[in-house]
């Protein structure tokens, strides 16, 4: 019996789609049968991030409306064993499907797949309601910014009141150099406010931008973000993996200043 995980954030542009693509690829690398579903109706993106945009024939709305069979709409990612994409519809809007229909679809998919990942649209309207309808778990993606964390807090409240209690947090685009200078909230600052368990912190990594340009996931690549994503996938399947110390990528001088600053702060407070 598979597990339905919704990847959500409230605020747009924090990295939900990139995260969905990479976790999907990562879980399939770990020998799981995975389907990723783009639930952002009218603003289809997951296919582009995954580099599968030229293979779309049918979409989520076609499946729900019965225009085609599920099999016909699924796109298999040839680079991975057992990774499938169900793309969104570009010319329809969020009212084209209902939470009930999504619930039915995900429960059918559970029979066949180990993991069903839902890329949730930004916002808290019907698109969000559709995406969370059949979810067993949620991964909340945020960046260390006031607006993103505020939205994440609101989303967590909504998920909890919708009886989705299994929540985990990804802090995305963290810059350790800025954290050390006291100009970016740290992973601890973010988890303290949101008070849900952390499943991974992804550094702001050029490789992610390059990967997105090429339509290729960074997972498994020899980059910091690739390694962190792989660890997140391992934690999803229940392996206990230690967290990578992101500051190890900083140079000697940056670490020295950080140590100095910490010392100063300890004395002032």
């Amino acid at each position: 019996m598979g597990e339905v995980i919704v990847i959500t954030s409230g605020k747009g542009g924090v990295g939900k789609t990139t995260t969905t693509a990479n976790i999907g690829a990562g879980l399939s690398q770990l020998d799981k049968k995975v389907i990723v579903i783009d639930t952002d109706l009218g603003l289809r993106n997951l296919d582009v991030v995954m580099g599968l945009e030229n293979q779309i024939v049918y979409n989520l709305v076609d499946v729900v409306e019965g225009t085609c069979r599920l099999r016909q709409a699924l796109i298999r990612d040839k680079r991975y064993e057992n990774l499938y994409l169900l793309p969104s519809a570009q010319t329809r809007d969020k009212t084209a499907i209902s939470p009930g229909q999504m619930k039915k679809l995900t429960s059918e998919l559970k029979e066949e797949f180990d993991y069903i990942l839902l890329d949730c649209p930004a916002g808290i309207e019907q698109g969000f309601q559709n995406a969370i309808a059949g979810a067993d778990k949620a991964i909340i993606v945020t960046t260390p910014e006031v607006s993103a964390i505020r939205d994440a807090d609101r989303i967590i409240g909504l998920l909890e009141s919708n009886q989705i209690k299994n929540l985990s947090l990804i802090v995305n685009r963290i810059r350790m150099d800025m954290v050390k200078k006291g100009d970016m909230m740290s992973i601890d600052d973010v988890t303290e406010i949101l008070s849900i368990p952390l499943i991974g912190a992804i550094p702001d990594d050029e490789q992610v931008v390059i990967g997105t340009n090429q339509g290729e996931p960074v997972i498994g690549l020899d980059s910091m973000a690739g390694r962190v994503y792989l660890n997140i996938c391992k934690r999803i399947i229940g392996t206990d993996v230690p967290f990578i110390d992101l500051s190890s990528s900083l140079g000697f001088f940056a670490r020295l200043t950080a140590a100095f600053r910490k010392n100063q702060e300890a004395r002032t407070c």
């Binding site: 910014e145 006031v146 505020r150 609101r154 967590i156 006291g182 909230m185 600052d189 600053r261």
Partner: protein, 70 residues
């Protein structure tokens, strides 16, 4: 050499925002909530204003009234 960090500003702004989001009230209502809780609880428990603290979390409200947090 070390200027005050922008993180502390961000954290304070964020705390005010999430507190008022969580109880759906204006930021100034938080003070009112604190005062009312203080006055009603002080009828039953010996309290000092300095030690009395109200934290509004997502699904519970924590009231601290002893000197150190436990």
């Amino acid at each position: 050499m070390l200027r005050s960090s922008s993180v502390s500003v961000a954290k304070n702004r964020l705390k005010t925002l999430v507190t008022s989001d969580r109880v759906c009230c204006a930021p100034c209502d938080y003070d009112k909530i604190c005062r009312e809780l203080y006055s009603s609880l002080s009828k039953y428990i010996e309290l000092t204003e300095e030690a009395f603290k109200v934290d509004i979390c997502r699904n519970y409200i924590r009231i601290t009234f002893a000197g150190d947090e436990t």
